[in-house]
């Protein structure tokens, strides 16, 4: 079957070709965004929870307000994944993470805007319209509502912006290749992507199962930790959840540290993470972080992760292939958008002309319901999975993924607890034996929305993810800490925040978060 979606993908801004019935939904959602002046100028929340219905459960998260990314299933609120396909969809059940938060007494403010099904780096591919970064640079002297229109990053742009704009204390996001860390960097908040397999994906709408992680965005690390202690739990409903013994093994390997001291902790600086695309403004925050680490007693070690340059291509092959598979269920048969098929526009034998072919039913619904970026990735992934392309693309990408993982295992002091006999690739005594990696989260601060590349453009937009995908491919935990660029007289920066990432070995999340918190405290 051919995916007949090429024709309708011509218009560059998807919203302009949104069918009328979808525009209706959008307007309904926008009106629901109360506090119009502030909230509608950010467009972070696409559904605002009804406060009266908020359940009052006594628990450790009482008083904590949380936004849920719109690709995480909630039975009490719609789950649109920012897609025309699910514009009217409400899930019949709650995701495990939603259950856990609710039972811990958290209060939900609503559903957060995102790129369609999590595919995008700028949160511009959404039936709800783009998220506008709530940050205003001190160099920008105008009114806040007239601030520079910059991207909030994606795909968890709504989650990051909602936290940055003070609409909630924390937000759940998902991170497949950087979708939490990138918007955290652009919006100036903390973004935490956990080790793969620690937080349940049950009820999280799959984009690429082997990469998808639920994570947390918040103003500070302590809030991230409060939520994490509730949602980081083994869930039998998630077949990729790692069992308790393995979590324990990884935790034990990292707990030799004295709290409050970075004495003896080795921080690796990967040379490949400073590519030519990196803007000079991105470098300065990282340098300040490194200085702080040193002043706190940490040891800085230059390291090399030589497979890094291949990671981005491998990531896009794997993620697109998995996406093309996961998107196959959106066909309008069971739920979601269904377009009444017009007689065949497909080529084929004349006998079919004028009749509705089964392919029309699928093609017309899917071409209408999916936005341009999702359509593009479905086509990319479908190509990569063809019988004659599978070895050269998908299998090759999996091999690169192994190399990327080997790179990490070579530099970390502790082996990866997921693999039984995690023999170091080379048992050479020159291993840098590092505990954490430190690198810029993004290659630049938040880009202007007017300069956001559209899906017809080149693959340039994917460069945004170049620094975040290796940890995703290896399933490693990462925290992006916001570093303002203002303290240094403002000359070198444009006043916009930048994220610096701390990455650890698989399963070291607790120590990683503690170190990140202490580092953030040391920075201020």
């Amino acid at each position: 079957m051919q995916l007949a979606c090429v024709n309708s993908a011509k218009s560059s801004v998807w919203r302009s070709c949104t069918p009328p019935f979808l525009r209706r939904c959008i307007s309904v959602h926008s009106e629901a965004s109360q506090g119009r002046d502030k909230k509608s100028s950010v467009n972070a929340l696409v559904y605002v929870a009804n406060k009266e219905n908020a359940a009052v459960i006594q628990g450790p998260l009482n008083g904590v307000s949380v936004a849920i990314k719109d690709n995480i299933c909630t039975a009490s609120m719609p789950t649109t994944c920012s897609s025309g396909m699910l514009a009217d969809f409400t899930s019949p059940y709650d995701a495990t993470v939603v259950d856990l938060l609710q039972n811990a007494g958290a209060h939900f403010v609503g559903k957060a805007n995102c790129d369609e099904f999590g595919m995008g780096s700028l949160n511009t591919y959404s039936i709800h319209g783009p998220v506008i970064n709530p940050f205003q640079s001190k160099l920008d002297k105008g009114k806040w509502v007239d601030r520079e229109q910059r991207s909030a990053g994606g795909s968890s742009g709504g989650s990051a912006a909602a936290v940055a704009a003070g609409m909630c204390d924390a937000a759940l996001g998902t991170d497949t290749g950087g979708s939490i860390r990138l918007p955290a960097s652009y919006c100036g908040v903390v973004g935490y992507k956990p080790s793969y397999g620690l937080i349940s994906r049950h009820g999280v709408v799959s984009f690429a199962d082997s990469l998808d992680c639920v994570g947390i965005l918040a103003k500070d690390v302590a809030t991230v930790q409060r939520l994490n202690s509730v949602i980081s739990a083994f869930d039998p409903r998630d077949p990729t959840a790692l069992p308790v013994e393995i979590r324990r093994k990884a935790y034990d390997a990292y707990t030799t540290r004295t709290p409050g001291s970075f004495e003896g902790i080795r921080f690796g600086i990967p040379q490949e993470y400073f590519p030519s695309e990196l803007s000079p403004t991105a470098l300065e925050p990282t340098s300040r972080v490194l200085e702080t680490l040193k002043s706190l007693g940490g040891t800085l070690v230059p390291v090399s992760l030589p497979s890094t340059p291949y990671a981005l291509s491998a990531y896009y092959v794997i993620a697109s292939a998995e996406a093309s598979s996961n998107m196959a269920r959106y066909d309008g048969v069971q739920y979601g958008l269904k377009v009444k098929p017009e007689p065949s526009a497909l080529e084929g034998d004349a006998s079919n002309r004028g009749k509705v072919d089964i392919r029309d039913i699928y093609a017309q619904t899917r071409s209408t319901g999916f936005g341009p970026e999702v359509r593009k990735r479905i086509l990319l992934g479908t190509y990569a999975l063809r019988a004659d392309a599978f070895d050269n693309y998908f299998q090759q990408a999996l091999r690169v993924r192994h190399l990327v993982r080997d790179d990490f295992n070579r530099v970390f002091r502790v082996p990866d607890a997921r693999f039984e006999e995690s023999i170091p690739v080379e048992t050479d005594c020159n291993s840098p034996d590092i505990d954490f990696l430190v690198h810029p989260t993004a290659i630049c601060p938040a880009p202007l929305l007017s300069e956001a590349p559209n899906s017809q453009g080149s693959l340039d937009t994917y460069v945004q993810d170049v620094l975040t995908v290796p940890a995703s491919l290896a399933g490693l935990p990462a925290v992006s800490l916001p570093v303002s660029s203002e303290s240094d007289s403002g000359e070198r920066g444009d006043g916009w925040p930048m994220g610096v990432s701390i990455v650890g070995q698989w399963g070291c999340d607790e120590t990683l978060l503690n170190v990140s918190r202490e580092l953030a405290e040391g920075m201020s």
Partner: protein
């Protein structure tokens, strides 16, 4: 239950097959100058309580549509698969029974295509690394048909088209149920062998409890690959016939396909059969083209990243081996050696045994006719007699009542006592049958056949009191009764009695028949004959 009888599992069919069991060469002259190569993919629904990747209970045919569906089964966003290990147990049990090599690690893949019966747009199957490789199943005594592989996969939903409006409806009850795909090597050489292979496989799967084997219910479906070539030439182009759902249709489809290939190849020296996927028209008994090789879909197989690698330890496989129910061939040998039953008796007993209800999830079978027979045999003297009572009398009567062994209410102890009463001539065989019928009509676990026989006045009449067992109630009265009946018969048939006395010995049978009828089966024919002879001769003298 009767379905399997209709589909070739009946004792008679099995007997006939064994007797007719042909050597391979015999069939060659049916299509002189041609060799036939057949391979079969059997899709067998695993007899598990829940579906392969969800907690939803599996459904039986005829249950209301869409009553066995969870969010996962309907491919709702955010749902994830969770492997049901009971299905793995049964697939491994099947693999072990087929002498197949269970893989220490296997994995699941997605097979993509768009159709209404496939809610996720892909089927989870085992394309790259199936759970078991190799193996064989012997047919027709000792011909091994090699197994290529056994893989686990999801069943699809069922598409029902409303005929008047041609509106398609989807029933998700079946969606996501576990299937084993058992792929044979192309080792079969005739439609007969193909049929026998599937019948043997059905019996095996039923015996080990991994599938109910019913083609009628759709629990077992076949795709058949057929090709034809000249002896000595490489195999011809194969055509696959999809979705054959009875042995009869499979047999007809293969035969039709062979003839079609031969007529194409005969049409010109350069003719070749185009590679096609074909269907079978159950009305015309012909195959028809579904799609050509060019239209073959690219399924874009991809590893399922959620399910990871299925690792099985040697201990686990050993455990499955040790808890394996007895296979039909082993049962055959045991029944032959321990009880000296005839082939015919064993065939019938095993055929009935194979109809026993199959428990879910590989749990222990309730005792079937074989176990029942063995308990009866332990309490009686002659196993062959016991076997006849179980198969001919008990199951025979149940069948006449449109019931099966599963409806039996007579305990092994009760039947054994009844058999012993007959052995000891306290009951005639005919009275024993009557008593059995009464016990089936009036179920009671505690009723004693001896007491019932007295209560129902079924105790045999005998002319000599010495023939009865000492432990039994003395049959003096019945002997007297027999005497009285014989006297009455002679009085009632004076001309026949006279004829006998004049030397027409054959007429005695008529008088015996009269006595038998009057005794309601309680009289022993031989005893009656003796008694009559004595009476008539006495009178003469």
């Amino acid at each position: 239950m009767l379905s399997s009888l209709r589909h070739g599992l009946s004792p008679l069919n099995i007997l006939r097959r064994r007797r007719l069991h042909t050597r391979r060469g015999d069939l060659l002259n049916r299509w002189p100058g041609w060799e036939v190569v057949i391979g079969i993919e059997v899709h067998a629904q695993i007899r598990s309580r829940a579906k392969l990747f969800s907690d939803t209970l599996t459904s039986e045919l005829g249950q209301p549509a869409n009553t066995h569906v969870s969010a996962f089964d309907a491919a709702f966003p955010g749902t994830l698969p969770r492997l049901n290990h009971k299905c793995v147990d049964l697939a491994v049990r099947t693999a072990v029974a087929l002498n197949s090599n269970v893989q220490r690690s296997s994995s699941f893949d997605r097979k993509h295509y768009f159709y209404f019966d496939l809610p996720a747009g892909y089927q989870i199957t085992q394309h790259y690394a199936p759970v078991s490789l190799g193996g064989y199943l012997k047919i027709d005594g000792d011909i091994p048909i090699r197994i290529k592989q056994i893989q686990l996969e999801q069943d699809t939903a069922k598409l029902i088209v409303e005929p008047r409006t041609r509106t398609p409806y989807i029933d998700f009850n079946r969606a996501g149920s576990a299937l084993m795909e058992i792929v044979s090597e192309p080792d079969l050489t005739s439609p007969e062998e193909a049929s026998n292979y599937v019948i043997r496989l059905q019996r095996l799967l039923r015996a080990i409890g991994s599938c109910d084997g019913s083609m009628e219910k759709g629990s077992l479906r076949c795709d058949v690959n057929v090709s034809v070539n000249r002896p000595g030439s490489p195999p011809g182009t194969r055509c696959e016939i999809k979705n054959l759902n009875s042995i009869k249709f499979m047999y007809a489809a293969i035969k039709c396909e062979i003839q079609r290939h031969i007529s194409i190849l005969n049409s010109s020296p350069h003719a070749s059969v185009p590679q096609e996927t074909r269907g079978f028209n159950e009305d015309t008994f012909e195959t028809f083209k579904l799609r050509s090789k060019e239209d073959a879909p690219d399924y874009r197989y991809m590893p399922d990243m959620n399910l990871g690698v299925l690792r099985l330890t040697e201990d686990y496989i050993q455990g499955i081996r040790q808890t394996m129910p007895e296979l039909p061939d082993a049962a055959w040998v045991r029944l032959q050696q321990r009880y000296s039953l005839s082939d015919a008796q064993i065939a019938v007993l095993l055929a009935f045994d194979s109809e026993k209800e199959i428990p879910y999830d590989g749990e222990a079978f309730r005792d079937g006719p074989v176990a029942y027979f063995e308990r009866v045999a332990a309490l009686t003297e002659n196993p062959r007699v016991a076997c006849n009572w179980v198969t001919n009398e008990l199951v025979g009567q149940l069948t006449a009542r449109r019931e099966t062994y599963n409806d039996n209410t007579v305990t092994a102890e009760q039947l054994a006592e009844l058999i012993n009463l007959v052995r000891d001539k306290i009951l005639t065989r005919s009275s024993g049958q009557q008593l059995l019928r009464y016990m089936l009509d009036n179920p009671s676990q505690t009723a004693s056949p001896t007491e019932l026989a007295h209560k129902l006045d079924l105790i045999a009449m005998s002319h000599s009191s010495g023939s009865a067992s000492a432990t039994m109630v003395t049959p003096a009265k019945p002997a007297a009764d027999l005497h009285a009946l014989c006297v009455a018969a002679i009085e009632g048939l004076p001309s026949e009695a006279e004829a006998f006395r004049r030397g027409n010995k054959n007429v005695l049978n008529k008088i015996v028949g009269h006595v038998m009828r009057a005794s309601r089966g309680r009289a022993d024919a031989l005893a009656a004959k003796q008694a009559l002879e004595e009476l008539l001769n006495d009178h003469q003298t």
